[in-house]
Symmetry: C2
Subunit: 332 residues, 2 copies
Amino acid sequence: MRWKIAARPIGRELRIGDFERDSAPPELALREGAIRVQVLMLSCDPAQKGWMENVAGYAAPTEIGGVMPAGGVGRVLESRAAEFAPGDLVQGTLGWSDEMVVEASAMRRVRDEPDAPRLALGLLGSSGLTAYFGLARIGVPQPGDTLVVTGAGGGVGSIVGQIGKIAGCRVIGLAGGADKCRWLTDELGFDHAIDYKAENPKQRVRELAPGGIDVLWDNVGGQMLDDLLARIARKARVVICGGIARYQQGGRPPGPASYFNIVFKSARMEGFLLSDFADDHDIGRDRLRTWLAEKRIVQRDEVVDGLENAPQTLMRLFRGENRGKLLIRVAD
Amino acid sequence: MRWKIAARPIGRELRIGDFERDSAPPELALREGAIRVQVLMLSCDPAQKGWMENVAGYAAPTEIGGVMPAGGVGRVLESRAAEFAPGDLVQGTLGWSDEMVVEASAMRRVRDEPDAPRLALGLLGSSGLTAYFGLARIGVPQPGDTLVVTGAGGGVGSIVGQIGKIAGCRVIGLAGGADKCRWLTDELGFDHAIDYKAENPKQRVRELAPGGIDVLWDNVGGQMLDDLLARIARKARVVICGGIARYQQGGRPPGPASYFNIVFKSARMEGFLLSDFADDHDIGRDRLRTWLAEKRIVQRDEVVDGLENAPQTLMRLFRGENRGKLLIRVAD
């Protein structure tokens, strides 16, 4: 089975009707350089909504009627490429389908280890690498810095906070709901968590970080970013990673009116794409793997079984219902 | 004579009634460490409105009934400080008054050369140094880069564009009015000028810089910044220097909704204060002086005679009526 894109969710929330299920038989012919992959595990990422909208800034254009793209891990069933043999584990842009035919050159090999698909899509995949490079290279945390993370309960945010602790920062996470906040402090080692649904983030940050925010990692945008920009410290680094607020609202949400505070604070606000650091991805993966082995960092994720649940699962991501990386298990 | 602050222009345009003229006699007593200065020339700067509003981010708090502060150059009349003797030229925060008593330690000596007050308040003062350090250290222009400057006709913008040319950039300035635009290209050597009152900046920048903006220098904020952020190139540097739009409007104008484009473009938006580079101010001044001697850069300014015209002159600045640095000559 597979899920195709039926409509573009431009300026509105995702709907179940944006996807159409079909049971077309898998492609039979395999062109030179291609591989047939059994899909094992798929990743849920905010950028997927951007892909569906065909937002100019994002990489892969999508088509109505095309298979919904998703980062994933699969096992090679058949190969017409020298790089891979049947049985190999591969990772790359797959899709919401049991089976995909893809260009071998667009895939990378995954080490066949316990929990390989989960790790490859989480801590050792784009979430972990985004957290690592964005924090290390753009946020440049210094020991003793106060690091504030919005969307701290998500796949990226939950890793950013843990790396921040390794870097010697005081880490404050913002997340929705008391349970998720407890999870951040008790299981992930955040120093403080602010429940933005029940507390006033601006005021709580003022109490918890009277000296201001040295590194602000923003996954959210909108009002929350605006509030926090008003609380940055001198020479602060503001890492713009995502904009869940932006994905959900109709039209473009207003920009952060507090942006001018970067002048008063001699601060910087910077964006990045994971591909900017492509030459160093192996370095990042090695560090994350080391910290994982040393138990200085944990991957907390939610794995939902069954491709049939893919649309509802992705919708949960945008409602902020997940704790850590949200994954869809398609096959074992 | 002198002008005192009569009201704070919070969230609205400056008014003549925000100032009150009086003719109090100068302070007679000179405490240890102070100097009495005859004010010669005063600078008009956007930040002065921020000072009057007592915006938290700005340095000097002001008081209703206090002399309106202004950067200026004066001649020492009397000294109780070892650093200065009568006759010396000094620069620092003075005020709208014929004569001021100030702490010697807050002033710096100015070389007694032809046109010393004009140069010290323009090219060799905060305007020139802001342009130099903001562009060199934050904008980091590379030869061949496209540099776009908003508020290009102002004291800082007119120097930024000229330094951009020295750095090998293609320079596009935005200013209000055909005359001012001609002045930018014909007298200051900008490659192109866009009259934002008559042309569509977003579309014109697309035509003039199809590869996008590598360095964006923003003095304006508001809609113009938002439009231009949509046109930045990969790895662009956006230097936030001022926000004239911000000073004029009631309440806080909306932030730039296009801020998220810094993610798609792996770009950076950064603010600074001139004091960040205090250790290097002499280096900047030397470079500007050299370029001035080599006629690679010119100071274009407007000098208005008479302290009695100070309020109207400052108001012209906020209406964007000046070409280059706007100065008030108090005495010769």
